[in-house]
């Protein structure tokens, strides 16, 4: 059952006589790269607790920028808006993606077309989608007069479908198709087999998909920036707007809060995701 590599199974801890896998210098570069990946974010987090104004020279610990962010009505509103959009969009996208994933376990004509359609947003730069949606929604807005959050939610739901689809599909693929057959063999109707066997087994994948879609929606800048109406800032577009002016550590405080939220959600996502080991 282990797909452990024969070579990897060697006790790498104990020095073998000739370290076959080692390539000199690579490990050092690797460790530095990973450190560099985290250092700026770490600095940003530290800076968010900074008592000083703008300079990086340490002047003491303080939570004042968090207080400032919390007291800022624009920030609060943008945050609530982000949550609303992310929650609605990820819910819609996850349901749609789950249904499509279930359909794809069966072979049927048009399967590949649907697969391509679903993955289309992944394959193109966001700016293109943003521009396209701006044009479409502008005309709908002109025709109907509706200017609510619906546009943002719809746009986010669309690009969240492939994101939610990924873990749902992976989970579904790890489920033995024989199980549904066994259920049918034991007198379950197709719906009962789905409801009692497939759905419970899929649940972690669906939850993982929803979380990932939520995170991606929460972090989106470009599409939100183009689709939003005036006064419809989400947290990321608000931050982007603020960056034009002098950067205060308030942005760092907001960033840190968002990082914390994202990190927690991603940890849950990883716990729920199917492990790569089971490929049989």
């Amino acid at each position: 059952m282990t797909d452990e590599h024969p070579a990897a199974a060697l006790p790498t801890g104990k020095r073998s006589i000739f370290p076959v896998k080692t390539i000199p210098g690579l490990s050092a570069v690797a460790v530095i790269s990973i450190a560099v990946l985290y250092a700026p974010v770490f600095a940003l987090v530290v800076h968010s607790f900074h008592a000083g104004d703008s300079g990086a020279l340490w002047q003491g610990f303080s939570l004042k920028w968090y207080v400032a962010a919390l007291e800022n009505r624009e920030v609060r509103e943008a945050f609530m808006r982000s949550l609303t959009v992310a929650a609605s969009a990820s819910a819609i996208a996850t349901v749609a993606a789950t249904m499509a994933a279930v359909a794809r376990t069966r072979t049927f004509p048009g399967r590949t077309a649907i697969h391509l359609l679903i993955n289309q947003p992944v394959m193109m730069p966001e700016i293109i989608m943003a521009a396209a949606l701006l044009i479409v929604f502008a005309s709908i807005k002109a025709a109907t007069g509706y200017a609510g959050l619906g546009y943002l939610i719809l746009a986010h739901a669309a690009f969240c479908v492939p994101v939610a689809y990924l873990p749902v599909r992976a989970r579904l693929e790890s489920i033995d198709l024989n199980l549904e057959m066994a259920a049918a063999d034991l007198y379950a109707t197709p719906w009962q087999a789905f409801r009692r066997i497939t759905l419970p087994l899929m649940a972690p994948g669906i939850a993982a998909g929803a979380i990932l879609a939520f995170v991606i929606s929460l972090d989106d800048v470009i599409i939100s920036e183009f689709v939003k109406a005036a006064g419809q800032d989400t947290l990321p577009t608000y931050m982007l707007g603020q960056l034009r002016q002098t950067v205060t550590p308030e942005i760092n405080a907001i960033s840190t809060a968002l990082i914390a939220l994202t990190a927690i959600l991603l940890c849950i996502f990883f716990v729920l995701s199917p492990t790569r080991e089971r490929k049989s």
């Binding site: 390539i23 974010v41 993606a97 499509a100 279930v102 044009i135 690009f159 982007l240």
Partner: protein, 313 residues
Amino acid sequence: MATMETSASSASNHEALANSRRTRNSWLLSLPAVLLLLIGASGPLLVLLVCSFLEPGDYGGVIWKPGIEAWFKTIFSDGIGGDAIQLADAHLLIFWRSVKVSLLTVLVTFALGFPTAYFIATRPRPQRTVWLFLITIPFWSSLLIRTIAILEMIRGEGVINTLAIWIGFIDQPMQMLHTEGAVLLGMAYVYLPLMVLPLHASIERFDFRLLEAGYDLYANRWQVFRRIVLPLAGPGIVAGSILVFVSSLGAYVTPRVLGGDESAMIASLIGYQFSQAENWPLGAALAILLLAAVAIVLVIFIRTLCAERADDR
């Protein structure tokens, strides 16, 4: 004999019925996703294409009058006099810069990403998961915030300048922000995980006994790396490079935050047409141009991948 015939025909009927029901159900199940994407992704692309062949409105929007002026303007600009036609230097410069910065980003991320991916892939199993997790977290987290983190490092009063002055390297803060170098740094930083993950996926599948075979046949470490490791990682290298290149080419946030007007890239140019310049058809034409460039790169990528697969068999 009669029963045999009826049962034979009923058997094929059953099969046809089961097939058509399956097809119908599958389509019904896919319908919400299909609709969502048609409205929210593929449909708008068509509208974008149509829009690029219309004339711009005065304050954004379009006038329903067909024209190819937008496409013309992607490459040419009216001369000052209005009659002389010349190449749109600004646009060409931005195209060139986008390609250049994207290629450099690929190079930098590969130089850092390959050792990282190799390092992770050669760790024992439980450790490997942790290292991989460390790469995956930034991969899924906010590009804007990671760009802001770089901004914090390199701005005038940022970490690097403050540190350098404090140590005494320099007296005055260095101007790092709003340069092409800043954009390159930022892009390499945000897209590094995008390079590492596919590389790791291909290196993880290595049969490391091939390296042993290489050493057994008198290759030295460099030769093993050059002749065995790199070729085996081929698909991962191609995948990672394409991902980073395509993302960089369409990057909007990072150049906007870290770059200045002198280091604008194609996505900023598109954005500009939709905001300040209020020339939607031109913006649409530029977006289609970008899409075409991305599509060409992706097609090349898929071709390469298919060729690799065919070789495996």
